[in-house]
């Protein structure tokens, strides 16, 4: 069975589709078969358009869920999450090692900024309780 990223959402949307389809069909049927006043016909058309728009959006979400399921399957078939090491010819490996040495040499040119002063990090002051000292002070 194909992977479903959100079965609960899919069931909710399927249910909404089942409510919308007869509403839209009924509204369209009324428009076609009735000899109703023009303003009422306009209202029926408006309601049918509104319901159809909602249906379109729901179907777009369902198609997106299908796409997620499909591509997740493709991803699994590709071996996800395992990443296999890439075999390398010795000559290429040696070249990469040499490149790495060059990069490390370049990085070695730089030195971290040295500290010039010392202080307290008061923003990270922590405390633990102790008994109040007996000696009064100051």
């Amino acid at each position: 069975m194909a992977f479903d990223p959100d079965p609960q959402l899919r069931a909710e949307l399927d249910n909404a589709v089942n409510i919308l389809l007869p509403q839209i069909a009924g509204l369209q049927h009324l428009v076609m078969v009735s000899s109703l006043p023009a303003d009422l016909i306009a209202q029926l058309n408006s309601a049918a358009t509104s319901r159809s728009h909602r249906l379109d959006l729901i179907q777009a979400v369902l198609q997106a869920l299908d796409a997620v399921g499909f591509y997740y399957g493709v991803l699994i078939a590709d071996g996800y999450p395992t990443l296999t090491p890439v075999p390398l010819l010795p000559a290429v490996s040696n070249e990469l090692t040499a490149e790495l040495a060059v990069l490390e040499a370049a990085v070695g040119v730089f030195r971290p900024d040295p500290p010039v002063e010392i202080g307290l990090d008061l923003s990270n002051l922590t405390t633990v309780p102790q008994a109040v000292p007996i000696k009064p002070g100051p």
Binding site: P114, V116, L120, D121, V132, G137
Partner: protein, 127 residues
């Protein structure tokens, strides 16, 4: 730097930081060792020891040794001098005072200050 108030019922630990020329916190020099001492007429009222935090960072642990050392009793303004083996100057000077912890820790009835007003004896016999 404003005087830092320490409560007398708590031991405070403050990490030591190293800063570069533009004030950015940078790594501690590998072999550097920092130390700290309290200074001033009331230095003995505040104990200080250097500790290593779990992260490896050095920190100063400050322990109040008296119940109060602040402006209210003529004490306070206890200096803290930090030095290190690289002789870095201190970013700024720090002074501390020790004050009583006046935050409420429990609630109770002040029975000694109880007052009464008369009322009619209740008709319900009890108990």
């Amino acid at each position: 730097m404003a005087d830092i108030i320490l409560l007398n019922d708590a031991v405070s630990t403050i990490p030591i930081v190293y800063k570069d020329a533009v004030g950015v916190v940078v790594a501690k020099p590998a072999t550097d060792v920092a130390s700290a001492v309290t200074t001033g007429p009331h230095a003995a009222s505040l104990g200080v020891v250097m500790v290593a935090l779990p992260s490896g960072q050095a920190a100063a642990t400050l322990t109040p040794m008296v119940a109060e050392s602040d402006a209210a009793n003529g004490g306070g303004a206890i200096g803290l001098t930090i030095t290190d083996t690289a002789n870095l100057p201190m970013e700024q000077s720090y002074t501390f005072s020790i004050s009583p912890d006046l935050s409420p820790a429990a609630i109770d009835l002040d029975t000694a200050a109880m007052t009464t007003v008369p009322q009619a004896v209740p008709t319900a016999p009890g108990p």
